[in-house]
Structure formats: structure tokens, C-alpha cells
């Protein structure tokens, strides 16, 4: 295949009359981790939901492996090889860990492979193995996040959409989860589109990054270049020049260069 794995072109998505994203384009190449950064309400989650079919866009195309998949049912999109790990985990609280993982494999029929993949998940997240029969509701936040990622993996996707995996986790757990994410990408050859507020870690694991603001893209570049950008440093990494007084409160204008 020649084109990118996922090619989002000029999508516009509305919540009722409110335009949440206005013309966003983005690509994910095979085998790549791409990060999308942005503040609250920038439209990052909407972007993922539109990609996975949970929301319909009014304009634009979502092209996956050369086929248009926008505005299709989410279950159909999932069967094409896109797994969406939603923000805030969203595990099934009253199912056990194993049952939750098996929900990820709902569309699959190859029992043996499913068993193998289940073992793979336990390999990546040993904690989940010990908790196999406990209800998901009783898991800690970090364990739930592992479960949600594991569940996404169980559908054997080509592309994994991760919505803020670091949300509400301790710094220690965050680095653990991101370690696993990049292993999944390397070892299982899963391409990943990652939405994050934690710009620092997201830019470390990804090869390219996009920055969204109020529903549009304002910047895109290789991750190491983004890490060097003045605006990213000031607005996403919290490093700023404190000025002569050492107490700068005003914000400089964003130029996104």
C-alpha cells in the first residue's frame, strides 16, 4: 500500500449546531506513533471519535488503508482494524478483567489466536493476570487503563486510537504505560494515534506531533522539533523565560513557528 495508513482530510464535526472541529487534516503512516496535543476543548477527543465512527462528520474524509470510512457505524470501523481506547478508561465495571478483555475480541472467531493474544496482554500487563477474575470496577485507575489498552489490543487492530492514557495516573504509572505503548508499537507493529495533554511524554514516544487549538490544527512537525519549539516549550511544557522580574504572569502571543 502506498498512501498513509490513516488519512484524515478536512473533517468538520458538529455537536448539534456547535462546530467542534473545523477542517482538520492529519495522517498516520504505517508503524508510526503520532501525538495530538491540545488544551481542553481543542477538539482532540472529537477527532478520535470521528475517526472511530462514534461521531459522524459533516464534511471531509477519513481514509483508512485507502478506503473511506467516515460516518460508518463504529462496530464496522472496529472490524476494519481500528481500536479506540476512550478517555477515562470506560471499562465494563461489572465484568471481570478477563471478560473485559474478551469483549475486545468480540468480533473475532479464531479461538486459538484469541487465547494467544490474551497471554500476550498478560505478558505486557502482568498485573492484569493476577486480577483475572475480579470485577473491573474494583481495579485501580492504572489497572483500568491497562485493561482498556489490553481490551483495545484484543481486537488485533492495525491502528490504536488512545485518548489520554495518562489521565489521572501517577507519574510513575504514566511512564510505565507509555513504555508499554511504545513496546506495543514496536513489537506488535501497531500504529498509534495518541491524544495527550502530557506533552512531554507524548512527544518522547511519538515520531510526529500535531497541535490543536479551538478546533483547528495550528502546528505539525517531527516530535523532536516540536520539543524545541518556543511556543510548545512555553504553552505545553511549562518552561518559560521568567523575565527580569522572575515573576512573569502575562502570556506571550502564540505564533506556532
Amino acid at each position: 500500500m502506498s498512501g498513509p495508513l490513516l488519512d484524515i482530510r478536512n473533517i468538520e464535526t458538529y455537536y448539534g449546531p456547535v462546530m467542534a472541529i473545523r477542517g482538520v487534516s492529519l495522517t498516520v503512516e504505517e508503524g508510526e506513533i503520532v501525538a495530538v496535543l491540545g488544551a481542553n476543548g481543542a477538539g482532540k477527543t472529537t477527532l478520535l471519535k470521528t475517526a472511530s465512527g462514534a461521531l459522524d462528520c459533516r464534511k471531509g474524509q477519513v481514509i483508512f488503508e485507502g478506503n473511506e470510512i467516515q460516518c460508518r457505524e463504529p462496530d464496522w470501523v472496529a472490524r476494519q482494524g481500528i481500536a479506540h481506547v476512550p478517555e477515562g478508561r470506560e471499562v465494563f465495571p461489572l465484568l471481570t478483567v478477563t471478560e473485559n478483555l474478551m469483549m475486545g475480541a468480540y468480533c473475532r472467531t479464531d479461538r486459538e489466536d484469541i487465547q494467544k493474544d490474551l497471554e500476550t496482554v498478560y505478558g505486557y500487563f502482568p498485573a492484569l493476570k493476577e486480577l483475572g477474575s475480579s470485577l473491573a470496577a474494583f481495579l485501580s485507575g492504572g489497572q483500568q487503563q491497562m485493561l482498556a489498552i489490553g481490551r483495545g489490543f484484543m481486537s488485533r487492530p492495525k491502528l490504536l486510537l488512545l485518548d489520554e492514557p495518562s489521565l489521572g495516573l501517577s507519574p510513575m504509572l504514566v511512564s510505565e504505560i507509555f513504555e508499554t505503548i511504545s513496546r506495543l508499537n514496536r513489537e506488535q507493529n501497531i500504529s498509534i494515534l495518541l491524544v495527550e495533554q502530557n506533552a512531554h511524554i507524548a512527544l518522547q514516544v511519538s515520531s510526529r506531533g500535531y497541535v490543536m487549538e479551538v478546533g483547528g490544527m495550528v502546528m505539525d512537525d517531527d516530535s523532536d522539533k516540536l520539543l524545541e519549539s518556543e511556543d510548545i516549550k512555553e504553552f505545553y511544557l511549562g518552561k518559560k523565560d521568567e523575565g527580569a522580574r522572575g515573576l512573569r504572569r502575562w502570556k506571550k502571543k502564540k505564533t506556532w513557528r
Binding site: R9, N10, G23, V24, S25, G243, A244, L247, K253, T255
Partner: protein, 613 residues
């Protein structure tokens, strides 16, 4: 109201300086509204009495800090009421005002403060204060820095820095003990006294500080020849007050006529402020007029079939009237009726949308404007007055309403002598012009020769006695083929395209002409979105072949209007989104030709590689 616009005298209402006029007018107007400013989103009014009281407090405050007549005081702020209070306050106690652009970088701030030997500095807020603090060591002559907005500075301990409230208090105390001092300073003021320093954006070398005497400002209150202004008029103040044009329109004219000035909330909200306020007097630079037009043409491309048809029909129906007006004839009854109809059905809504529905005096200046644009406004029923001037001489020519002569900058206002030199340069002489450049006697001698100010503009006087500007003298391009080309002509036609925000034509000593184009972000983004052209940021938008093609087709449209030597053979897009802080742009957002040609030399060289198409 009596006014004296005669050649021999520069008295306005018997006053020969701005402070005298201020004392007289504020006493007369008292509790009438002088200005409005938004506070937490609500317009608050300030009366002429408030204006006077604040200006006095600042004058007294500065006197108590030891200001001597002739000292330079700088104001470094976006437009706001305190800017105006401080401006008049400084003049009341005999100081000289130096406006510093709030978009300046610290090193530029340091240069003007040093060159002007400034003693006191007013800054807007924390952000502007930090620029001073960055270069504090280089500026030992600054004695006090007064901050308009103290938010975020509560814990600051600095001997030289204080909030404006403190200055007000000092002023009140000083005023109680020294009653009548300011009045006597004002009464002793002479029209020849320096009022301002205006630094002009140096496209070559460092900025030069023009020395502006009081009589210059008094004279400038009379530039609106043929237009009556009253106390019920409203002005929106949104261009930098450091620039001579906004100062004349927002400080000088209201002093004489009593019209109300309204401060735009911020440079980003100007469009909304226009809509909300619908000012009756509008001064704008061509870029703003272009922006209004492109907003309308973009929303038309999005409109329903019905809406678009109505708009096009309206334009067609009303254009006959505009043509007649342009030809100096009186439009017939039928033309007038057609216009009225189109106005009632279509144009009125457009004007309301732009906030121009109440405007009865519209003026453009500070840069050349395309005639196609003026014609579009005229079709809508908005006749725009063109004024011409520069910092050194103020506004010196203006078009008159009857007969309308668009495409020219009109004729000299009473009191101004104008002639064209043998080289074609426009020369201006009047008794109220500037006194030369501060600390630059040789530059002054080059500019004022035998009393005539050499403007650096090339122009001609047409058969009707109207002045036509060709271009800046140093901008005229002589191609390798020896052909003289005036770049601004092409640039202005190109800027009429809603997709082009600014352009610089290049080709001096070259085989053919080329052009650097800055696209209009909003409209090109909109176009890309409508035509499913994927892009992410500004750079990627400029790199899209479809966008390059779009600009190319706009360029070709303009090319058709020019002869083959004057046509643009190649162009490149500037793929960095420039802001007012960038050195490529003047504070009024024009591209600086020489700066841009140096900075983008690689792009330019690239256009002269390989064959021309």
C-alpha cells in the same frame, strides 16, 4: 463653531496650542461624554470633566516628580483612555510626548528611549514593563516608570516603578498646593514649542524621531475640510496612537469638534468593535478596508444561491450610479432609484454587518489603496475620502466630496503649498510642518530644503488639480531592460483579491518582475476547507499546490491589466504567519519592502533561477 483655516493664522477657536484648546474646550463641555472604554465587556463613559481632571492629575504628578518643560515623556501602550490622559497631561506641564509602539521589542524600545533622552515612561502593563526591565541598565536617564495596569505586579519592589494611581494621588496633593501653576505654564506655551516626537518605522537604518511642534497639531484639527463634525459623532480608536494618523483623528479632531472616541477592546477584536459601535467617523488604513471587503466576498461565496444572486444583482444595479459619480456627473433618477432599492434589500445588511451603516465620513490614508476597492465601496453607497500625508507634514491633501475624484489623493488643504520637483518628487511646504529630526541634522537638511519638505513620494498633479501618488521614490523599480515600474500599482490591485493580504513586487535590475505574496490566512483556509484541500498549519497551507495555483490565478487576473513588462512572471508565498511584533511588518501591518527583500533573499534568488515562464 468658528474656525479659522486661513493661510496666515493657525488659531483654532482663538487657541494656538493644544493645551490651550484643551483647557477651553473641557471647560465648555463639562459633563458631556468625551470617551468610552470597555471594562469587563461593558462600555463605560468618561466625560470631558473626567478627562480634564485626570490630565491635570498627571500634569501635577509629573511636576511633583520634577518634570521641567521640554523634558521627554514616553508612552508605551495599546490605545486606552490612560494613553490619552497621559498624552494631554504631559503637554499641560510642558513635556514632550513620545509614543512608543507596544509591539516593539526591548531593543527597539531601548533605542527610542535613549535617542529621545526620555526622563519618564508610561507603560501599559506587566508585559510592557518587562520590556523596560529587560533593558533597564542601558537607560539610566529614566527616572520613573508609571504603569497603567498594576495587575500581576502587586509584590513588585522597584524604586523607579509605580502604579498610575500613585501618580494620581501625588498629582492631587501637588495640585492643592500649587493651584494655577499648570494654567500659567499653558498660557506661556507658544505654538513653536515641541509637542511630540514621532519615530517613523525605519525601513532603512534606525527609526528617526520627527520633532512636532504645537502648531502642527493645532493645524491638523482642521483637516476634515468640507465635513462637519459634531458632538454626536463617534470614532473608534484602534490604530496605534503613536502613529500620526490615529493621533490626528482620535485626539486632535475630537478636541475641536467634541466627538466621542471609543477605544477598541484589543487589536484582535476590532471587527467586533466596529459592528457593535457602528462609528459615524471612520479612519482606516487600506488593509482594514481590504479586510472588510474580503469578509463580505467570503461570506458571499458561502451564501445561498438566492443571497448570492441578490448581491450580484444589487452590485450591477447600483454600479451605474457609482460610475456617474466617478465621472463627475449627477446620477439620474433611475440610477438613484436602483441604488436605493439595492441598498434597502442588500447593501444595508452588509453595512450593518461591517458596522459601517452609520458612517458618514470615511477616510483612508497611510498607504496606497486600490481604486477597484474604492469603487466597490462607492457602489455600496460609501464614499471614501482619501487623505495623504506623512509624519513630517501631517495630513496635507484630501479628496473632496464634490466632485468625487477617486484614484487621486485630492487637493491640498488650505494653508498647504505643494509642488512637484523636476525629478517628480512631491514637495510640501506649510508653516506648521515638523522641525526636523531629533539628533539628525544631516537627515533634516536632506529632507527640508529651502523650507520645502521632500516627501520621498513620486507623484503628479492631474488636469483637475488633483494629486496622484505614483509610489515611494526609492521603491520604483528599474528593470534590467531599463523600464521604470511602480510596484505599488500592481501590489494594490493584487491586494484587492480576498486571498492576498499583502504583496511585494521585486525586480530592480532584474530581467523580469517577481512577487512575494502574503496570503490572507482566514480566506485561504476557508477556500481550502470548501475545496477539501487538506492542510494542517499555515506553512503546510502555503505549500499546497492548490493554494499556490489559487494565488497564481489571482495574479494572472491582475497581470491582464498590465503591459507585458509590468507583469509578474513568478511568485512565492511567504510561509510564516507574520504578526505586528515581527520586523517584517510596520506597526500598521504593511510589509517592509527592503526588509522583506533582504530576509527572503533565497526565495527571491530562486525565482530568478531557471527560465521565466
Amino acid at each position: 463653531m468658528t474656525e479659522n483655516t486661513g493661510h496666515s493664522s493657525f488659531l483654532v477657536d482663538d487657541c494656538d496650542t493644544i493645551p490651550k484648546l484643551f483647557l477651553k474646550k473641557t471647560a465648555e463641555r463639562g459633563d458631556k461624554t468625551a470617551m468610552r472604554e470597555k471594562d469587563f465587556g461593558i462600555w463605560q463613559s468618561y466625560t470631558w470633566a473626567d478627562y480634564r481632571a485626570r490630565a491635570f492629575e498627571i500634569a501635577h504628578g509629573l511636576l511633583s516628580l520634577g518634570l521641567k518643560p521640554g523634558d521627554v515623556v514616553s508612552i508605551q501602550s495599546e490605545d486606552c483612555k490612560e494613553w490619552v490622559f497621559a498624552d494631554i497631561g504631559i503637554m499641560l506641564c510642558g513635556g514632550i510626548v513620545n509614543g512608543v509602539y507596544p509591539t516593539y521589542q526591548p531593543n527597539q524600545v531601548a533605542y527610542t528611549l535613549m535617542d529621545s533622552n526620555c526622563r519618564f515612561l508610561f507603560v501599559e502593563d506587566e508585559e510592557q514593563l518587562d520590556k523596560y526591565l529587560d533593558v533597564e541598565e542601558e537607560l539610566p536617564n529614566i527616572e520613573k516608570v508609571i504603569v497603567f495596569d498594576w495587575r500581576g505586579l502587586r509584590g513588585l519592589k522597584h524604586d523607579k516603578v509605580m502604579p498610575i494611581e500613585r501618580l494620581y494621588t501625588l498629582g492631587q496633593e501637588y495640585g492643592r498646593d500649587n493651584e494655577g501653576q499648570v494654567e500659567s505654564i499653558v498660557q506661556n506655551g507658544r505654538p513653536e514649542d515641541l509637542a511630540l516626537l514621532i519615530y517613523t518605522s525605519g525601513t532603512t537604518g534606525m527609526p528617526k524621531g520627527s520633532m512636532i511642534p504645537q502648531k502642527y497639531l493645532v493645524f491638523q484639527t482642521t483637516i476634515n475640510v468640507d465635513f462637519e463634525q459634531t458632538e454626536s459623532d463617534q470614532i473608534l480608536t484602534y490604530l496605534p496612537l503613536c502613529h500620526v494618523a490615529e493621533r490626528v483623528f482620535s485626539i486632535c479632531l475630537p478636541l475641536k469638534s467634541g466627538c466621542v472616541i471609543n477605544f477598541a477592546e484589543s487589536p484582535e477584536t476590532v471587527a467586533r468593535d466596529f459592528q457593535e459601535l457602528s462609528p459615524t467617523l471612520v479612519f482606516a488604513v487600506p488593509r482594514v478596508w481590504e479586510k472588510f471587503y474580503s469578509r463580505v466576498s467570503t461570506s458571499m461565496s458561502e451564501a445561498t444561491w438566492f443571497g448570492r444572486t441578490c448581491y450580484n444583482l444589487g452590485l450591477r444595479a447600483a454600479s451605474a450610479r457609482a460610475r456617474k459619480l466617478l465621472d463627475g456627473k449627477t446620477p439620474g433618477v433611475v440610477d438613484e432609484l436602483k441604488y436605493r432599492l439595492a441598498n434597502a434589500l442588500v447593501f444595508r445588511n452588509i453595512k450593518q454587518l461591517l458596522g459601517l451603516d452609520r458612517a458618514h465620513y470615511l477616510a483612508t490614508g497611510a498607504a496606497p489603496i486600490s481604486t477597484s476597492l474604492l469603487e466597490w465601496y462607492l457602489i455600496l453607497g460609501l464614499s471614501i475620502t482619501e487623505v495623504y500625508g506623512q509624519t513630517e507634514v501631517g495630513v496635507v491633501t484630501t479628496t473632496r466630496p464634490k466632485p468625487l475624484r477617486q484614484g487621486t489623493v485630492g487637493e491640498p488643504i488650505p494653508g498647504v503649498d505643494l509642488k512637484i520637483s523636476e525629478e517628480g518628487e512631491i514637495l510640501i511646504r506649510h508653516p506648521y510642518q515638523f522641525d526636523g529630526y531629533l539628533n539628525q541634522p544631516e537627515k533634516t537638511r536632506e529632507t527640508i530644503i529651502d523650507g520645502w519638505v521632500h516627501t520621498g513620494d513620486v507623484g503628479e498633479i492631474d488636469e483637475n488639480g488633483q494629486l496622484k501618488i505614483t509610489d515611494r521614490m526609492k521603491d520604483i523599480i528599474i528593470t534590467a531592460g531599463g523600464k521604470n515600474v511602480t510596484p505599488s500599482l500592481f501590489e494594490n490591485e493584487l491586494k484587492f483579491s480576498p486571498y492576498v493580504s499583502d504583496a511585494v513586487v521585486i525586480g530592480d535590475q532584474k530581467k523580469y518582475l517577481t512577487c512575494l505574496v502574503m496570503i490572507d490566512k482566514e480566506n485561504v483556509e476557508h477556500h481550502a476547507q470548501m475545496h477539501s484541500i487538506p492542510f494542517t498549519d499555515y506553512r503546510s497551507l502555503c505549500a499546497r499546490p492548490e493554494v499556490v495555483e489559487l494565488i497564481g490565478s489571482e495574479l494572472n487576473k491582475v497581470n491582464k491589466k498590465f503591459s507585458s513588462v509590468e507583469q509578474i512572471k513568478k511568485f512565492r508565498l511567504i510561509d510564516i504567519l507574520l504578526t505586528a511584533e515581527d520586523e517584517e511588518l510596520t506597526p500598521t501591518m504593511k510589509l517592509k519592502r527592503s526588509y522583506v527583500s533582504n530576509k527572503y533573499n533565497d526565495l527571491i534568488e530562486d525565482m530568478y533561477r531557471g527560465p521565466s515562464r
